[in-house]
Assembly symmetry: C2
Homo-oligomer: 120 residues x 2
DNA sequence: CGACCTACTTTGCGATGCAAAGCAGACCGT
DNA sequence: ACGGTCTGCTTTGCATCGCAAAGTAGGTCG
């Protein structure tokens, strides 16, 4: 079997949006998808183990891409930025996840056919 | 519940090795993990929808990282580079996959508990 | 009222992905 | 036998991007 036409681009994974497909941003989005009410900057920072500068930069990128909304306000006499996933952001993240799931399944099945499924 | 200590770094995903966590390389590795005997350059190129230059560069990176081995020879009077996953490469790819799986599961369960499981 | 703390933003640089151009050998027509 | 074209791969150049270090603003505490 010498590489069928149908296999062209079989593993190109075009759906892996660069904006999302990034260690730090992936963590941020995963954090946010579980918190519909949003998360404050410092919490996000701790959850993702990011430095201030780093998180700031990534949030800016995500905001420009329309994936998250940043609501800058004050709470307890301190500046507080509340980060949430936008509806579009949620949608795009879920699409991305679907692709990621395909990657995992592709790889798992290629690595060892029926690995956890007691092969019998 | 104001962010327990245990949640520190919960979503940092340190295991997402930059060398592997890359659209193109991810495709290459997934292709290779299913072909223990290796794949020739042109096949890989088509499978991953990559340009020559691109694939060349990524393979060089993967080789330097010790994840793949490149066997340059000739077949049918043509140069032919055969690419395979090294044992170490396979191991590291599988580790990476485990983390990726955690990402998917984390996100899926955060996004909507039991999404495809007809919720009851 | 001055030293430190939290909450961010900005700057600078090194690394990297990507595409266009380059190179070498094989095949093909005449 | 030789000019052109094709395949197979490498190199170069640039524009982007992640990351860390430094910077800013305002609040709190001694």
């Amino acid at each position: 079997m010498a590489l069928a036409d149908a296999d062209e681009g079989r593993f190109s994974y075009e759906g892996l949006d660069r904006t999302i497909h990034e260690k730090a941003r992936l963590g941020v989005l995963t954090s946010l998808v579980g918190h519909p009410k949003g998360l404050p900057f410092p919490d996000l920072k701790r959850l993702c183990n990011l430095t201030d500068g780093n998180l700031s930069r990534h949030l800016a990128v995500l905001q420009e891409a329309g994936l998250v909304s940043l609501q800058k306000g004050h709470a307890h006499n301190r500046p507080q930025t509340l980060c949430r996933l936008t509806p579009a952001g949620r949608a795009r993240f879920l699409e991305y996840l679907a692709v990621l799931e395909r990657v995992v399944r592709d790889a798992a099945e290629a690595a060892g056919p029926a690995p956890d499924l007691k092969t019998a």
